[in-house]
Subunit: 408 residues, 2 copies
Amino acid sequence: MRDRIAINGSRLIADLRTLAEFGRTANGIDRTAFSPADGEARRWLREAFAAAGLDAGIDAIGNVYGRCPQRRAILIASHSDTVATGGWLDGALGVCYALEIARSFRIDPDGPIGVDAIAFQDEEGAFLPCLGSTSFCGEPLDTSALRSRTGETFGAASARARFGDAAFRLNRNRHVAFIEPHIEQGPLLELEGRRLGIVDGIVGVRRFSVQSTGRADHAGTTPMAVRADAALPLFRLALWLHRSIGRIGSERSVCNVGAFAVRPGAVNVVPAAAELTLEFRDVDRAVLTRIEAALDAELGRLRRTSRATLTATCTAALDPAPMHAGLSAMLRQACNALGHPPLDLPSGAFHDALVMCRHVPTAMLFIPSRGGRSHTSEEDTAEDDIVLGCEALAEAVSRLINSGGLPE
Amino acid sequence: MRDRIAINGSRLIADLRTLAEFGRTANGIDRTAFSPADGEARRWLREAFAAAGLDAGIDAIGNVYGRCPQRRAILIASHSDTVATGGWLDGALGVCYALEIARSFRIDPDGPIGVDAIAFQDEEGAFLPCLGSTSFCGEPLDTSALRSRTGETFGAASARARFGDAAFRLNRNRHVAFIEPHIEQGPLLELEGRRLGIVDGIVGVRRFSVQSTGRADHAGTTPMAVRADAALPLFRLALWLHRSIGRIGSERSVCNVGAFAVRPGAVNVVPAAAELTLEFRDVDRAVLTRIEAALDAELGRLRRTSRATLTATCTAALDPAPMHAGLSAMLRQACNALGHPPLDLPSGAFHDALVMCRHVPTAMLFIPSRGGRSHTSEEDTAEDDIVLGCEALAEAVSRLINSGGLPE
């Protein structure tokens, strides 16, 4: 009979509850990257990694790295920073899974493969989304231009935080695989009645800011036919996107018109200017390209039929990232072995896995989010589901190590 | 041969240019009611009315009244206050027409009918739209609750301005008719190639504020079908109004969606709340009622098909005001006699005439607005058209007085 990692569920929950005290506010948890609470949490995690038998440290950018004594390692990681009104799970879940699995590791301590744990820095983008994993992977990164929303430079924040001097890096000779466990942040597992999910890909996104310039006229005295109403073509565009996404995209495509502003904004003045931001996401790059082409055609139609002037700027274009099939299959087998067949689903949100998968075989394990809520104090998951997710991950890691590494 | 009032066009233009210096700013003219510039302009007008032979004064609310020596009078008036970024004509035009016609009055100085002039206070609604004419007509008016946008109480503004103690009032035994000359503030005269317009009615308006409450969800992880997007039904409503106004309303109906806001307003968050303001106007009350019923039905449809909660509040309901047919006919004859057949058109904007017409036979004479622009520093009218308008009004007043008053 093969060796297994047996995790301690109540110890895992206790760690999550402890971590949730760092940055607690009336509106949730605020561990914005480089904030005092973020620094305190990272120092606590360093001690916890060390107590679990890992060689632990914090590098210059704030990544907390716990290195196992083995020559090679399966890397388990997520991020410990939060948005300003975050919940208690989100990235903290994956970090505590990594801690618990490293701490419970009893398989052949003198063998070739162990478990490394990381709490990445600034996944939420106080300065740059996925800052920590980008740094860890050695991707091009110019921190000199980075500023927070409050205008603080990265240099100032970094000096204030005083994390360390090292720069921890991915090592393909050491890191055989990367697994990021996370709450789903959506309702699919709950809707389907499943307790575990395997991510088949992280969706890509296209974001546009669309500006419309018209002419302010008196809304009582100016006949409809001679107006240059800046808002009207954007109302049409917003509705077109919502009506077309299901037809032009796939059944998994999603879109959003999250911001809409009108100037001067008076009830009796025809809008002189209007602006909206839109985005659409899909796991298939070809689908994104198709929607983008249709958007471009619709903008052309609107330009021909409106007196307002429309300009569209692409503000973000991230391609979908497929997860590693072999690693995902091993995760799926582990879930099945525990009697909980997982749901295959895309990740509609971004994660450090989006950066990591460009450099190392990567997979993601999801557990349910109550009501699909995240990034809010209402973010929650049943403790049983939290423990089950860690058990499934421990089972997958046990299988990986017992089989000598990753199946090709 | 009958007597005529012969106005002096260059003197009229000089008065308008002088008045335009009160409150001049980089962004137009700011004679917001009760501002220092408004007070200075009113004191200048009082002197000008007095120099024209009128018994002139300023009452407690700021109305500048010039009373002719005759027992009865045709009242010519508009307002001298402006919006914060006003143009040089707007209400000032009618006030200067009144001044010029009273000053040029040479018809039977000992006769029974003369010309009274008024510069009404706060037509633009710094405290209350048509405040001055409402006060002049003795309509119910509770100034104790009035506040400016900056929060100043009416009492404080009034004490600061120190206008006077009197309360000038309309007197039906004295005031046989009221005529308000004004720039069109719209493009119809220009589009039709006419230099004079007679207003057949002031449009009524219905204004609504519509609130939508949904649920903030992650725009990447939440499938379209389970969202409660607060903005979506308001995009539909805005577009429905624009598409329906011509079909449900009349060819003269106009509508506007002038304000639209979305919260939290992030590109990747499904709108949790959204709000718009809309209005529609028509000269026919039955048309307004018809559009309002259709709006109500559309809101019902949207409520049934959306997961967001919609509430609509009527924020303004003003009924259309027809002008006096006999008085308007006399204005029309005067225009024709000058060789400039006028255009009959509605007033899409509100005026002191809207209040006055409830108490005294009322008519309005329009002259063109270049490009239909008003309430901006670009507001302008050719000097020839300004002089022609005053000549047409003088001709109408001459005819009224020679015929002994108003035809029934």
